[in-house]
Symmetry: C2
């Protein structure tokens, strides 16, 4: 039931990418993976957008044997069935998993080979979607069957419908929000301050100093991780369980299992994640707000382009997600309904908080399977039959 | 309606304080303030316990003209009326506002004058209550009319009823919990890691290096502050409001007002708060769990001492407090009701989150006023009248 080993691919873009900020990314490479086979009509492609710390490696096993981050959803016979769909996973520019990012040479620098570091241009969800659209075009795909994403990935899926509506038919946005709340931004800012004030950050040019701002990254990950988990699930899993049989009465040693777990998450993260990428991606989250250009009215954002109106949407939220609560998904649904845009909405009663979108909940996966079967049926119906072809 | 200028007092204790950890605090000084007049029967005293970053300065104006942290509640004609009650505010040992703490000389150190720093013994809510009880005894008070506190102060009020039940009649615990949840501990741990991993922390002996771990303190305060505010109130107050007219597209500069507010809170806090105190106080929060010694059954904790059973309680919670939600207060109420202990419970529909306990909500203050009027009535009734005295 798994795709087995998969190999990432690279695509280079020499044409500069204009960014929302007014800056441009002069040239860039995207790392991506594909699963399944593109049909002759090139009508069965699904793009999967990643969230904060994920990558192009959506499914299958990478060269180290590590499963893709959405392997439970994507594969042969899985809800997003690679026997029927051609699935594309792509790492966004600014990330740290192969696509051009802050750790790569800055071609605009007067110092040859100097890496971007903190000078990497600030990228937005819309910039990523533009970069993804170029990749899709280069793959010879005029229209995607669907764009799918969870959390920040869901924001990208929404942005696709507003920015390149002709290039997709379905948008599937899971555990996401039409913008960040003040509290969401606040948590991001705490994480950024932890990183930026780490003396090893060196203003974002730590690469040149041979150090990594791991202290800041650890704290950033710890605070982020708390917001991904439901409070009740944390109590069920850890509660007030102690690590040792007796209390140590120490402010710095670990007393509670939850501390041990969080420190471990922080340590792991600091080993593989880039500090500048963390800043860039949390900023892209902060900035995302498609309603802003329309007086804060999301319905008007969807109405602004007639090509958006015939897209169809699946919106999924999770009851215990307090990062992007169901209320936030319902704002999206309402804006779509106000425009009479076709939308299915599922609110899944799952205990896992925001992280639920990555987990294998039977009701959640049933909703996803059903929706992709519907898309597959449309793809099938649109294929001219052999008989028709002969007439 | 204000107490006007008030003067802190000091009391020195040469008798060592045995601590829950097994260690002892060899000698210590407590800083305290009192407001109002102790009556002849010494029956109208109310002790106010402080939370994380507060102090003995509960009401009136200090030497710099700064109002006490609960000045809206405590004063002449206020809900806790200093015309009727003798109110005591005391700074806990380990804090940084005058009572013996990590920034004071360690008398057990072989180096004369060396400050405690990170060697200050770990103190618990119960240790604080024991220290407070000694102060109360020295003031010649056998029984307090009430012990009052909010948040961590509420935990101290609860601990009083379990530890020194003969020494009080009423317990008023506001916006508190019978223990911390895994999520509460997790946020504390993030704050502690930010402080401890700040290179200027120097293992808690930063005083000797002439530096302060301000970076860590700032991040600690920022994350704490988020948990004190209700998400909706944050959206109402800040929302996605920008600081400037146009976006800067920067990961390090301030874009949103909420960032500016949080950074300001962090900066202010780092100027006046001691890093070791932050560790000690968050740890005391983590450890508090009176039910733990009774198989996790809070009702049994209250039942363990017969003298606890005739105390009377006022428990107050706030609907939007997600740090110590109403559910946590209801756990306390249930344990009291299970023991047929007299308890009044008010759940105040206030928008301000955990911070509501410090604010002047009319319904909240009406509940407090009414309850203190009842206590004042009891105090009055217990006073022998002049006639009775003559017979």
């Amino acid at each position: 039931m798994s795709l087995g080993p998969v190999t990432p691919q690279q695509m280079f873009f020499s044409e500069p990418l204009p960014l929302q900020s007014g800056a441009t990314l002069p040239e860039y490479q995207l790392t991506y993976e594909t699963y399944g086979t593109l049909n002759a009509e090139r009508s069965n492609a699904v793009l999967v957008c990643h969230a904060l710390n994920a990558s192009h490696h959506v499914a299958g096993l990478d060269e180290r044997g590590v499963k893709g981050w959405w392997d439970n959803l994507v594969g042969p016979g899985k809800p997003l069935d690679t026997n029927r769909f051609f699935v594309i996973g792509v790492n966004n520019p600014g990330s740290c998993f192969g696509s051009t990012g802050p750790m790569h040479p800055n071609p605009t620098s007067p110092v040859p080979g100097r890496v971007w570091g903190a000078d990497f241009p600030v990228v937005t969800v819309e910039d990523w979607v533009d970069a993804q659209a170029r990749l899709v075009q280069r793959l010879g795909i005029t229209q995607l069957a669907a764009v799918l994403g969870g959390s920040l990935g869901g924001m990208q899926a929404l942005a696709w419908t507003l920015r390149h509506p002709q290039m997709l038919r379905h948008c599937i946005a899971v555990a996401t929000a039409p913008n960040l709340s003040a509290q969401n931004i606040a948590f991001n800012e705490v994480a950024r301050r932890a990183i930026v004030t780490d003396p090893d950050f060196h203003g974002g040019h730590f690469y040149e100093h041979g150090v990594l701002p791991k202290r800041g990254l650890r704290v950033a990950r710890m605070v982020g991780h708390i917001t991904y988990l439901a409070e009740d699930a944390m109590d069920t899993k850890f509660g007030r369980e102690l690590r040792a049989a007796v209390l140590r009465y120490s402010t710095q040693e670990i007393e509670f299992q939850i501390e041990s777990y969080l420190r471990h998450q922080g340590d792991k993260f600091a080993e593989y994640f880039d500090a500048n990428t963390y800043l860039l991606i949390t900023r892209a989250l902060d900035y995302f707000d498609p309603a802003a250009a329309h007086g804060g009215d999301l319905a008007r954002a969807f109405a602004a382009n007639p090509a958006t109106l015939d897209k169809r949407f699946l919106i999924v939220s999770f009851t215990t997600d307090w990062r992007f609560a169901p209320e936030r998904s319902r704002e999206i649904v309402k804006a779509l309904v106000d425009n009479r845009i076709g939308v299915s909405y599922a609110e899944i009663d799952a205990p896992h908080g925001h992280d639920a979108f990555l987990l294998e909940d039977p009701r959640y996966h049933a909703v996803m399977r059903h929706y992709f079967e519907r898309i597959a049926g449309e793809v099938q119906a649109a294929v001219p039959s052999a008989d028709e072809g002969l007439q």
